[in-house]
């Protein structure tokens, strides 16, 4: 019989009294509970941020692990250096070179996933109350990291060309007048999570200049850069800046596997030294075994081909989702047109709360997405949603979007009936000045006006 102690509410209070102040910022949520029921097999989940690992050849995996067992068993099972194996760093240099960056392996630390980089950078730079700037919406997984270090998160709105640099400058000016110096700007410039948009070349240039002028650090999070489905690559911020003010976060999660938990940070030496110390304290070192796995995989020389395969698969899925959105989402909805990555961001009329919509979608239609509020630190984003197209088949994408469209239609028509506003009328004019945009609507791109709404499905 398990010997588990009884927990009384009195004891709970006793523990609660011992929790650090910062844990008050760490919150579970109704949404997280809701997401738990999306794991049921009958649910089509467009909620995850998952790459499709079923595309990875099992024979390759078996061959590499067998070779590790034969040739470097003891060291694969041993602790490794905090900064990671030299050989792994050469693989990283190869990936960065493919993205147009040339780095010295000494400028890199191998981390436990890209997520650890966000944590270590925040840990290294942020005191409670310090400002961290990021996009609105931002990567939902970054919000709890910033919160846990009690950062004051300031989010800058985006449009089809990524973060609005004019608003960034305005905000920096305001913060300066308030004598608050932001510690760093967190950005996913390419195929942003969750919005799917990409920071334009002129804005990249300007962002790097701003960082230099104001001596501000930028954390460039680039998990999706190689997952490009059309157009020419834009230079990463780090390539423009040369690694002076830009800290670069990379990961093998989207180009190989998230299960191996391998990411990296490239940063100026003084910052890297502190990050190294932070990592020692956090987990001593990154998994030796999975570093060996990457090394073996790269030695086979087929990683670029696999990324190309992924691009082919994901491009088809993205197209399937865009077509389905045009067919099944109502005319009041807007969504982004990502040229790569894993996500589309859709915004609905502001009277729809996507958390409530999710409850209905899961219960009635067995379909799930991420409600937009997860991508904000301040509860905005209530009428938006993040849709993932990488993790499920084209058929499921079309069916999933059809089901979500059905629930949205029902809500719009009900709202129309209750409010007396004609259902089907656009909730807002197509061209809106930023100042007129309600705070919960992100001014991301409008659906192209030439997109014809297809005949409705059954």
């Amino acid at each position: 019989m398990p010997d588990r102690h009884q927990t009384t509410s009195h004891e709970i209070e006793r523990y609660a009294g011992l929790f650090a102040r910062r844990t008050r910022q760490m919150r579970s949520s109704a949404m997280r509970d809701l997401m738990a029921i999306t794991a049921r097999p009958e649910v089509i989940s467009l909620a995850g941020g998952l790459p499709d690992t079923s595309t990875f050849p099992p024979d390759t995996f078996a061959a590499i692990t067998a070779r590790i067992a034969r040739e470097s068993c003891a060291s694969a099972l041993q602790y490794g250096p905090t900064e990671g194996f030299e050989a792994t760093k050469h693989c990283i240099a190869e990936v960065m070179a493919a993205e147009g960056m040339h780095i010295d392996v000494d400028d890199v630390i191998v981390t436990t996933g890209g997520q650890q980089v966000i944590d270590l950078v925040t840990k290294t730079l942020v005191d409670p109350g310090d400002v961290v700037i990021c996009e609105a919406p931002t990567y939902p997984g970054a919000v709890p990291v910033f919160s846990s270090y009690e950062a004051d998160v300031v989010q800058i709105e985006m449009d089809a060309d990524g973060m609005r640099i004019d608003l960034l400058e305005e905000t920096l000016g305001r913060l300066e007048r308030e004598e608050r110096r932001p510690k760093f700007i967190y950005t996913v410039p390419t195929f942003q999570n969750p919005a799917g948009v990409t920071l334009s070349a002129p804005r990249r240039q300007r962002l790097v200049e701003i960082a230099r002028e104001r001596e501000l650090l930028v954390l460039e999070d680039n998990p999706y850069g190689l997952l490009r489905y059309e157009g020419d690559p834009l230079p990463p911020l780090r390539a423009l800046d040369g690694g002076v003010y830009v800290l670069y976060l990379g990961t093998f999660s989207k180009i190989l596997s998230p299960g191996i938990r391998l990411g990296w940070v490239a940063a100026p030496a003084p910052v890297l030294t502190k990050i190294n110390l932070g990592k020692q304290a956090a987990d001593l070192c990154t998994s030796s075994l999975t570093q060996k796995l990457v090394e073996g995989y790269f030695a086979e020389g087929r990683w670029r081909g696999y990324v190309q395969d992924l691009c082919t698969i994901y491009r088809r899925r993205r197209d399937a989702m865009l077509d389905a959105l045009a067919e099944f989402f109502p005319p009041q909805a807007e969504w982004t047109q990502p040229g790569g990555g894993l996500f589309i961001w859709a915004t609905l009329p502001d009277f729809i709360d996507t958390e409530d919509l999710l409850a209905k979608a899961i219960q009635q239609e067995n379909v799930a997405f991420v409600p937009g509020s997860a991508a904000y630190a301040d509860g905005r984003g209530g009428s938006s949603m993040r849709l993932n197209f990488s993790a499920v088949s084209e058929n499921d994408i079309v069916e999933g979007i059809r089901r979500i469209g059905k629930v949205i239609d029902a809500q719009i028509s009900l709202y129309g009936t209750i409010s007396g506003r004609a259902a089907g009328a656009p909730a807002q004019a197509p061209e809106v000045e930023p100042a007129d945009v309600p705070t919960n609507v992100v001014p991301l791109p409008q659906r192209p006006s030439d997109t014809k709404r297809g005949a409705r499905g059954s």
């Binding site: 588990r4 009884q6 509410s9 709970i12 609660a16 029921i37 209750i418």
Partner: protein, 323 residues
């Protein structure tokens, strides 16, 4: 005496996670009590698994639709397996806030003024035309709630007429019936009820004081340290007595059995207003009911033991006599 207890938990309800947390605690308690425990995550194989389990009794640790609304209870009646808590009818009455409130009004138990609508009423009967009159009667802010949903999911406040349609759409996400209720400003009280040998008894009154949130929302309910709980609540003796009296009356009115929790608001005037009853109160570490039981000197193990005992005792009564 060792009993084979099937714990029914999880299921597809929106409150699945809360149920899993309640069930985990109950399972620990039952094991400590020396019972044989068979946890069952409820799905379409439930009946088959229960039949194969050889269980003597089912502990229902389900919350929300399916588990708390009489559905599972009905199935257990059919296969003749004793179960904890209230019977089919009491579950149906408690899960449905509209039905509960109509019964309360009929019985003369104070409850905030309200109006209830189905989605059909709006879509087909032009109920929207009645909204201005309702808003005038209830005043602002008013509360919009789905008829059947626990854990504060889908509860919306409307501060002005402009907020009402959005709040209704939100509430209709959880149920096809909603109610608009006068917002009673005051202290949030909860009274646990437990069936004792001499009949139902009210546990000490508990007060929930949210630390930050405007109201006691889902997060505040299940997050440690988000809410201060005071039990027994610091109330004048006559108010305590009145709250307990109303809770017992509500329990009896709904036909509950075993245990239940009655939630109420205490406005300035000192007369508690009953909001709703939970036929299966949450049993997580931060839930109200177990805290109230503790305040009465009933440990969690004693509580679980008592509920199992009551289930077995009840099944010995002739069918239909109690339930």
């Amino acid at each position: 005496m060792s009993t084979r207890v099937a714990i029914l938990k999880g299921g597809p309800s929106l409150e699945r996670q809360v149920s899993l947390r309640s069930a985990a605690r109950v399972q620990d308690a039952l094991e400590r009590l020396g019972h044989e425990v068979l946890p069952i995550d409820v799905d379409s194989t439930l009946i088959e698994r229960l039949r194969e389990s050889g269980a003597d009794v089912a502990f229902i640790a389900l919350h929300g639709r399916g588990g708390e609304d009489g559905t599972v209870q009905e199935l257990l009646e059919i296969i003749g397996l004793p179960y904890t808590g209230s019977g089919v009818l009491a579950c149906m009455r408690s899960m449905d806030k509209v039905l509960t409130k109509h019964l309360l009004v009929e019985e003369g138990i104070p409850t905030p003024d309200f109006f209830a609508f189905s989605e059909v009423a709006f879509r087909e009967l032009g109920a929207a035309d009645a909204l201005p009159a309702i808003e005038e009667r209830l005043g602002f802010p008013l509360v919009v709630k789905p008829a059947a949903q626990g854990s504060a999911l889908g509860i919306e406040f409307a501060a002005s007429p402009a907020d009402v349609p959005g709040a209704l759409v939100a509430a209709f996400s959880y149920d096809d019936r909603v109610l608009l209720e006068r917002h009673v400003r005051g202290r949030e009280l909860a009274v646990g009820l437990l069936e004792m040998d001499a009949g139902v008894e009210a546990l000490p009154v508990l007060e929930a004081k949210p630390k930050e949130e405007y109201f006691f929302d889902f997060e505040a309910r299940y997050e440690i340290g988000k809410t201060d709980y005071v039990c027994p609540a610091d109330l004048p003796p006559d108010v305590t007595a009145r709250a307990q009296e109303l809770a017992v009356a509500t329990y009896r009115l709904l036909g509950c059995y075993g245990f239940a929790r009655v939630d109420m608001m205490l406005p300035e005037d000192g007369t508690p207003q009953v909001l709703e009853a939970q036929a299966i109160p949450g049993l997580t570490e931060t839930s109200l009911y177990p805290q109230a039981a503790e305040a009465a000197g009933i440990s969690f193990d004693d509580l679980v033991s008592r509920l199992v005992e009551l289930a077995l005792k009840n099944s010995a009564a002739p069918t239909g006599a109690v339930r």
